[in-house]
């Protein structure tokens, strides 16, 4: 599915190399992302899973260079490969260039759709404002035509919704407006930050079927942040697992679920209740998520890891890479149990 969409351009749409993101606070500095390298395949849906504080939102914000204050990218490179033209070094863009880069190349659907829309503007006014701010000389008719097109994708009735204020829409509708909004300037990549957390399962299923269609028909690449293993399994092509700001494992969804490698990924899948399968086989992960101010020595997962060895407690493991899959664990691709 992924392969036949890619034709000529670079196979990756985004490459993040050795990203380090710090939040300097008054008394100490919190390192939210530590040396993460990640490539997003063009045309694919890549999911980043992680618990709260694992750095998934911070990492994704670095693509748009909008890490929330006082966070700074203290190291690394972020490269974007447009379908046409030269690669873009996102960190070297001038303020003007980054303003255009956002939404025209990469757009984002935020977690709380409820608060992402301006309450005193109608939906149409917000779309028009965005077009204007990006210096597009579109006529009203052209904007309406474009809005009808993107509303069609998210199955919203333009004539009804466009003149509504956000409070007149339900949660699921607002989220669909936000998805339509992200499509407005034909981006090549959409970042989805927990797009369905506040919604119920039926609406969630609906939103994901819409996103999948957009991905397939328009060939837009997607980066999805979530904490829900079920959504990853159902929706994504690739998955990266973040823990305490480190990329613990990365690979195609099928590989990662079929051949579970990293102890944390194993634990996470085994701790996820499901509607099918043996309930007795489920096991919680012991311990609690790490405190970023006070990380354990060696591998950050070692205090909770059932396969932990002395060496794990001494130094942080390197990332083992094999055919598009990488694992940050001392056991790497070897069998262990």
């Amino acid at each position: 599915m992924v392969e036949n969409q890619i034709v000529q351009p670079h196979e990756n749409i985004v490459e993040i190399e050795h990203a380090v993101i710090d939040y300097p606070l008054r008394r100490y500095t919190i390192r939210a992302v530590t040396d993460v390298s990640l490539s997003l395949k063009r045309g694919a849906i890549t999911a980043l899973v992680g618990e709260s504080g694992s750095g998934k939102t911070t990492l994704a914000s670095s693509l748009l260079r909008c890490i929330s204050e006082p966070g700074i990218l203290s190291g690394g490179e972020v490269r974007f490969y447009p379908a046409e033209g030269a690669p873009v070094e996102v960190l070297k863009l001038s303020p003007r260039e980054i303003d255009r880069f956002r939404w025209e190349k990469v757009s984002m659907v935020f977690q709380a759709a409820q608060s992402a829309l301006n309450p005193v503007y109608t939906v149409r006014a917000q779309f028009e404002e965005t077009v204007r701010e990006h210096g597009m000389k579109w006529s009203r008719e052209r904007i309406e035509q474009k809005m009808r097109e993107v509303f069609d994708y998210v199955k919203l009735d333009y004539d009804r919704v466009a003149r509504c204020y956000p409070h007149e829409l339900s949660g699921g509708m607002k989220q669909r407006v936000m998805i339509a909004f992200s499509l407005l300037l034909d981006p090549e990549l959409i970042i989805l930050d927990e797009p369905t957390t506040a919604l119920d399962v039926i609406t969630q299923d609906y939103i994901f079927s819409i996103l999948k269609r957009i991905n397939r028909e328009k060939g837009i690449s997607m980066l999805l942040m979530t904490h829900d293993i079920g959504i990853v399994a159902k929706f994504a092509d690739y998955v990266g697992v973040l823990y305490a700001g480190r990329l613990m494992e990365f690979g195609s969804v099928f590989d990662v679920f079929r051949e579970r490698r990293h102890p944390y990924t194993k634990g996470l899948i085994r701790a996820t209740p499901s509607l099918i399968g043996d309930l007795e086989a489920l096991k919680p992960i012991g311990g609690s998520p790490p405190d970023l101010r006070n990380l354990p020595q060696g591998c950050v997962f070692s205090p909770r890891c059932p396969y932990c060895t002395d060496a794990c407690r001494e130094r942080e493991p390197d990332t083992a890479v094999q055919g598009g899959r990488c694992i940050k664990c001392i056991h790497g691709f070897e069998e262990y149990e």
Binding site: K155, I202, G230, T272, P273, L275
Partner: protein, 339 residues
Amino acid sequence: MNSLMTLEHINMRFQKGGFFSKDRSVHVLKDIDLTIGEGEILALVGESGCGKTTLGKIITGLYVPTEGQIALQGESGETIKRKKRPLSFLQVQFIQQDSYAALNPVRTIYQSLYAPIRMHNPKWSKKQIDTKIDELMTLIGLQPAAQFLSKYPHQLSGGQRQRILMARAISLDPKLIVADEPVSMIDVSLRLSLLNLMSELNERLGIAFVYITHDLSTARYIARRGRLAVMYLGEIMEEGAMDVVLSHPRHPYTRALLKAVPVPDPDARSDEKLPLKSMELSGIEDRGEGCPFAPRCPYMTEQCERPVDYVVTEGVRIKCRNLEEVERLNAARPEGTDE
């Protein structure tokens, strides 16, 4: 199983508007009949806005229903006005979703646990209460207790705070705990251990649980030997033993709901559309006399606009007129073959 609490014909209406608009009342719960057995786990599942939290608050006695009877062990809770509320309703406790908001931020954990015990056991000595608190901390698995008791809520993690809420709920030896989405704000890796703690309290202390959630997967986990009630727009659409309902969902809504739950296995993927006519949740305000699910139901007929009664099969009660037809259509097109 002896019944612990019975709810009969519960109806709940909320007043809405009135300042600028005409007074309207919203019918949030309609004719709810429910029995909760001693020591059982009942999972109450539904979409947001279906009235599941309202029902939970009625069970706890935080809301007085507009119509209907509640009885706890035969004792009527009709006059659940604060003062007159029968003391036995202390035996029903409530656990909120947001553990941060549920604890007083300027009190230590010890103070938060101490207050309700002191309030309801005025004759106890401080030493007795301290022993009780120590026992509670052991039960909920926060050890060493002293280290947690002197802390303030913001110094604990979400999972630990949720455990403190459990300790507080069991401190008055309740018979029933209503837990409203207790794990939805908790990290995935910690959810399972909290659910396990609830099962343990259920088994060891015989406390019955009403587990309110929109997440069927965790409902199945905690209430595997219990019951499931599926709510839709203020009515219970299907209710019965968890394993029976999950292995053979009968109501068209339950069928759709089960299909919508993502399974954590990419090999189980399918692009099948949900068996629904419309994705829009119809408003609770413009509900007619008939089945509330009818506007979204692919099996709807004209009859559905008239009031529906429960049909009981295999110990499961279902509120649907067209069960036989739905069954026939689904048997003709078994799952997995309709791609």
